[in-house]
Symmetry: C2
Subunit: 356 residues, 2 copies
């Protein structure tokens, strides 16, 4: 079923208002979900609305947080999200990073006391509007084992970075530091398919191709999977994100990050909420903007012109697939599975908001 | 053969002085090589001295560069290395990042007009001495194809980041963004062994296990290797490093980065020399240093206590292997292959410096 993005946005915003958010905050949270849906990252869009609603129903998240700077320098800030929804704490902290960049060339902001912040890519897309290079990272519920481990200790801890371009479309990197996103396991399990070597280990740390091992206490592997193929590097990247977003911010880290799905076990906290990290860099702090634009355009054209590997159309540019989906869905609307629609209707009923 | 590190350091410094460097710069360049040798990264230590010497002999590098800031803000600087040796331009630019961090919370420095800067990990190790979080990245001679390509367009573009700890040893990440370092291919070729799936493609972009395909125009694959295992993510990371170190700095980027080995073909330049990028972050810009130290110590202990995968001793901490090698080599000395010793004796003869 296809739904116009405006309808889903308006519905999500009304639901968030019913959860106690201000009208402006509710619209902001809906913006972040919309960015996922329109770009084809279905696992992080309106399909998760019910899970955010549960956080409010269980009083696990503060609907009216006072997001504040608890420490700052010319180019940095440590932000406390006051246990607010990540979908509004994240954008506010990201704005602080952009302001710092305007004032000091670069801004780097850590966040504690937040919760699930949606797609990592939303934040650098905001920076692009101001012709800034934007970064975002977050830690996340524990799903990933370090290399040589048989126990979940890290999240899929994504890194997103975007670079403005000139005549070309911008470069938008948005990647989990695990070998795959959890959603791919869920899809394989639904279809009854096996998954490739190197994606997961079972609860005893043995390699497995059975996606259902994840729900039985197995672990995702870090990018690179095993030692021979660079699994230590994926572990390093997941650690980097956790140390910057979690340890340095004062949030929970590693296995202590609160689960987004409240049914899951949470360990006693070692900090406040979930942790993020945002950065913005002013291009003219390093070179003339026009010169940069010419250079990055040439970089993009050079990569696009790479000789293709057999059986492929050749390399693409980070952000291309999401851009193509956005172009399609802007016309056609957002496709939703029947199970998602059913869930939204249930949320609509509970929150007394019309869905369709 | 085992050589005391002091002997190798002194020899390298004398050779660099004979190449025209000041005494202080010559010692600095020798420091960077020593950091590789003592930590076991043999491909980036004194075994490469001959290649640096060639750069001077061919007048490709300026022995007395005036390293200057061409643009700056409170927290950022764009540095021009004046076509100097990366082993001295790098440390000077890294110092600027550390100064900026002291003044503005964080420092981010791009560098153009440099050359091969040694191991990426040297630079964050310097930041650790000042209890800063340190970053370094560099682009490098083209060796890696983007995912779905059959042509070298990117270097092994490493990322190194180090985090100070309290009672525990610091966390030191230092990783190429390719699936493996080039040195592993060279070793396999010397031994006449095949390499694992997913490391390289031949000059036509076909997967290969024959290491000699690299010298025949093949390509290293990015971390993740293929689409199914996350090769797009390794390509994203190599691009990230190239865009920050090369495009934004005004240096060459992608296939235009000058080769360290002067016998190799160079494309007409699109910028100045090789590009790097350094960052430093003051911990007390985000939280009290003592609180951070307790938190990071607990993170380290948590990761070390992960349940081990079958057949392993369990996860280690980034920097452990290099630290262990350093402890061993500090006592025993640096092991050098006969071919390396022969090369050093030849350099000694040419530059009229005693080796042994």
């Amino acid at each position: 079923m296809l739904y116009p993005r405006e309808q889903l946005h308006s519905f999500a915003a009304q639901v968030f208002q019913q959860c106690g958010l201000t009208e402006a905050d509710a619209r902001l949270a809906a913006d972040v979900l919309d960015a996922a849906d329109i770009r084809g990252i279905d696992s992080h869009g309106i399909s998760r609305l019910w899970a955010y609603v549960r956080l409010f129903d269980e009083r696990l998240v503060n609907p009216r947080p006072k997001v504040s700077i608890i420490r700052e320098t010319a180019s940095t800030a440590a932000v406390d999200g006051d246990n607010g929804l990540g979908l509004i704490v994240g954008p506010k902290a990201n704005n602080i990073a952009m302001q710092k960049a305007a004032e000091a060339g670069m801004g780097w902001v850590t966040v504690r006391g937040s919760s699930h912040y949606g797609i990592a890519g939303y934040y650098p897309l905001q920076a692009l509007r101001h012709e800034l290079i934007g970064w975002s990272m977050t830690n996340a519920s524990t799903r990933v084992t370090p290399l040589w481990g048989a126990e979940r200790q890290l999240g899929t801890n994504p890194i997103a970075v975007a670079f403005p371009a000139g005549e070309e479309q911008p470069i938008v990197i948005d990647m989990a530091t695990s070998v795959v996103a959890l959603g791919k396991l869920e899809i394989a399990q639904r279809k009854g398919e096996l998954v490739p070597d190197g994606w997961i280990v079972d609860r005893d740390g043995q390699p497995s191709n059975r996606p259902e091992e994840m729900s039985a206490g197995g672990c995702l592997l870090p990018l690179g999977s095993d030692r021979e193929s660079g699994g230590h590097k994926g572990y390093c990247l997941a650690s980097l994100v956790d140390l910057l977003s979690g340890v340095l911010s004062g949030a929970n880290w590693g296995p202590f990050v609160p689960s987004f799905l409240i049914a899951e076990r949470n360990l006693p906290p070692v900090g406040k909420g979930t942790g993020h990290c945002f950065a913005s860099m002013r291009i003219d702090a390093f070179m003339d903007l026009e010169e940069y634009k010419q250079r990055v355009d040439q970089w993009i054209r050079t990569m696009r012109s790479t000789k293709p590997a057999p059986g492929t159309n050749g390399p693409i540019i980070p952000g291309d697939p999401e851009r193509q989906t956005e172009a399609e869905r802007s016309k056609s609307g957002i496709p939703l599975h029947q199970s998602v629609v059913d869930g939204l209707r249930e949320v609509a009923r509970q929150k007394e908001v019309a869905f369709d």
